[in-house]
């Protein structure tokens, strides 16, 4: 995992960099906001640690610029100011977490682990069930063959596979896949279930979906 550390206090910067490298992170270290922004534009980081008080551009400016450009990398702010209002400003500017100085190194490490968790551990890797594989990177369902899935089809398939032994109600599906979109209703779910049934068949899978319109659905294998 690759991190960016922007901290103008040299000793602290060196110490934290060494610690992070020791923990097997790849680290780019910079000493001011401008360098921080340049690095962010050039590379893709898994996490960014920003000191707020920095020369040239402060941490909040860097953060706002990142978010304005839709760079969603998790950001941890290091704040020398411990006041609540500053923390609120930082979090609302788009930071994922903050850590007031002085801080314990092990807490820094734990917060870094926490903020980067969402991009790794929770990122679904390939899901498998019986003879099917769901590939999130390509949005593709495969068995003997491959077929593309639209975003909604993919999410529905994911939910069905993640809950493979449980019957899921139409209501559950509407809230977890369609996130209570007003335009979606039981017919929508039924249509998409039928799309998936067709796609499972088109990849030559033994898997199909049991259930009727408005009711509960579950993946099953036909022999």
């Amino acid at each position: 995992m690759k991190l960016l550390l922007a901290e103008d206090t040299q000793d602290l910067n060196r110490a934290v960099t060494a610690l992070l490298k020791h923990e097997d992170y790849e680290v780019d270290s910079v000493f001011d906001g401008e360098e921080a922004l340049n690095s962010i534009m050039l590379s893709d980081y898994d996490g960014v640690i920003l000191d707020i008080m920095m020369p040239k551009k402060d941490g909040l400016e860097v953060l706002r610029e990142m978010r304005r450009r839709h760079i969603m990398t998790p950001v941890l702010l290091l704040t020398a100011k411990a006041e609540i209002d500053d923390r609120i400003t930082g979090l609302d500017a788009g930071a994922d977490d903050y850590l007031p100085k002085p801080f314990a190194m092990k807490e820094l490490l734990a917060r870094i682990r926490s903020m980067t968790r969402r991009t790794t551990a929770y990122t679904v890797t390939e899901l498998c069930f019986e003879d099917i594989t769901l590939n999130p990177k390509e949005s593709v369902l495969s068995a003997h063959n491959t077929v593309s899935l639209s975003k909604t089809e993919f999410e529905l398939m994911q939910v069905l596979m993640a809950n493979k032994d449980t019957e899921l109600t139409t209501e559950y599906i509407l809230s977890h896949v369609w996130k209570n979109d007003e335009k979606a209703h039981k017919d929508t779910v039924w249509l998409y279930i039928n799309y998936l049934k067709g796609k499972l068949k088109s990849v030559g899978s033994r898997v199909t979906i049991l259930g009727e319109k408005g009711g509960s659905f579950v993946l099953t294998t036909q022999l």
Binding site: N145, V147, S148, L149, G198, K201
Partner: protein
């Protein structure tokens, strides 16, 4: 005029082509009146040209004889049926395999088992009672569009672009088109079911 590689079989082959056309036309009309939709978007039938047949024989190391053209090569008579929906493809397949005066020599479902490059179609080789082979390709409109592009690309020499990239992107498109075909079929089924009620 030089002797045709087909010898004196040409009239009979033309008759088979005409006859097939008539049968398919009747079937289309029948289904259209029963279901309200034409199961075929377009129908093509052709007897392979002299030149193409000779070239194919040469390419396969066969002598340019009538025997090669009619016994070894099996697409002297070629039929392509392009359908709007997936179920139409299988309806056509079911009709073709049960024609009493033709036997089914080979069937390959490249729809359920797409080729690695993404190609999808249903291939049938039929043989008339008097021994003439017909190669039939059944596909949806999407599959046909894709195949036309892929064919075009494959037969162009000296492409300056990244061929590997094109191939993988064509495969991706093939999978997306296949997905759309399935969705369209599901929508069609939904409509048909509600029409019944």
């Amino acid at each position: 005029m030089e002797n045709s590689i087909y010898g004196d079989h040409l009239p009979r082959m033309e008759e088979i082509v005409r006859n097939m056309q008539e049968r398919i036309s009747s079937l289309r009309e029948k289904i259209h009146s029963e279901q309200g939709m034409d199961p075929i978007e377009h129908y093509l039938a052709r007897i392979k040209s002299e030149e193409s047949m000779r070239e194919k024989c040469r390419r396969n190391g066969l002598p340019e004889t009538t025997e090669s053209a009619l016994e070894e090569v099996r697409d002297a008579i070629g039929v392509r049926i392009v359908c709007p929906f997936l179920d139409d493809v299988y309806t056509m397949r079911d009709y073709l395999v049960q024609m009493p005066d033709f036997s089914v020599i080979q069937e390959k479902d490249y729809i359920r088992n797409a080729k690695p490059n993404g190609y999808r179609s249903y291939h049938l080789i039929l043989r008339s009672f008097d021994g003439y082979y017909i190669e039939v390709q059944l596909r949806t409109i999407s599959m046909d569009t894709w195949a036309a592009l892929e064919h075009h690309m494959r037969y162009k020499k000296d492409l300056t672009c990244d061929v590997g990239l094109i191939s993988s992107e064509l495969k991706r498109c093939a999978d997306e088109l296949a997905s759309t075909d399935v969705s369209m079929q599901a929508i069609k089924n939904l409509i048909m079911e509600s029409e019944e009620n």
